[in-house]
């Protein structure tokens, strides 16, 4: 994840009651799961844009570009699954 300045005051959290702390912990867990998806989308967009978009003269995506982006994500995830399975077999 990029190093954004963390502005949350940790001393403030320390002062809270246990249930409030737990509430915040749950909140962070949910937000951090969502953020993981966001960062993956950033990564995939950059990678697939490089491979699928060659023309900067039209701001709309052509149907071929759209199809390419969609397939790019899915082939990347297929590759990811194959790699994980391949590594599991080696072990």
């Amino acid at each position: 994840m990029s190093s954004a300045p963390v502005t949350v005051n940790t001393a403030e959290i320390q002062k809270l009651d246990e249930a409030s702390k737990r509430d915040i912990t749950n909140f962070i867990e949910i937000e951090s799961a969502k953020q993981k998806v966001q960062m993956s989308v950033h990564q995939f967009t950059s990678m697939c844009f490089k491979n699928c978009v060659k023309d900067g003269s039209n701001p709309e995506l052509s149907s071929a570009e759209n199809q390419c982006l969609n397939s790019c994500v899915n082939r990347f995830l297929d590759t990811n699954i194959k790699i994980v399975k391949g590594l599991q077999n080696i072990q």
């Binding site: 950033h42 709309e60 994500v73």
Partner: protein
């Protein structure tokens, strides 16, 4: 209170127990303001991180698409390209996000 489950009959012990019970289960309502502030701060930090990431990635990709070494192209033309490229980059972001979320929903193990 006439009686309590643990036989303690002083109202002091009872209210103490209530406080412990409350602190174990329910967030203290007097902290709700601080909790909300912290949550908002977290969301704002994440929004800044996402915006920064988008600026960095869009800059890199549109620079590669619109500017060619040795970088002495027509400035007005390449600025126009960067503008349309940014629109295209955001549309790509949305298309990728949609495809990824769809995939996550279809195969939860990915």
């Amino acid at each position: 209170m006439a009686f309590s489950l643990f036989g303690g009959n002083s109202s002091n012990a009872n209210s103490q127990q209530q406080i412990i019970q409350q602190s174990k289960n329910q967030p203290d309502p007097s902290n709700a303001g601080t909790v909300n502030e912290i949550k908002q701060q977290i969301q704002q930090d994440l929004a800044v991180a996402n915006a920064t990431e988008l600026v960095n990635q869009a800059t890199e990709n549109c620079f590669n698409l619109c500017m060619k070494a040795p970088y002495n192209e027509n400035l007005a033309e390449s600025n126009q390209c960067v503008e349309t490229c940014l629109g295209k980059y955001m549309r790509s972001w949305n298309a990728i996000s949609q495809a990824y979320v769809q995939r996550l929903q279809n195969t939860p193990d990915v």
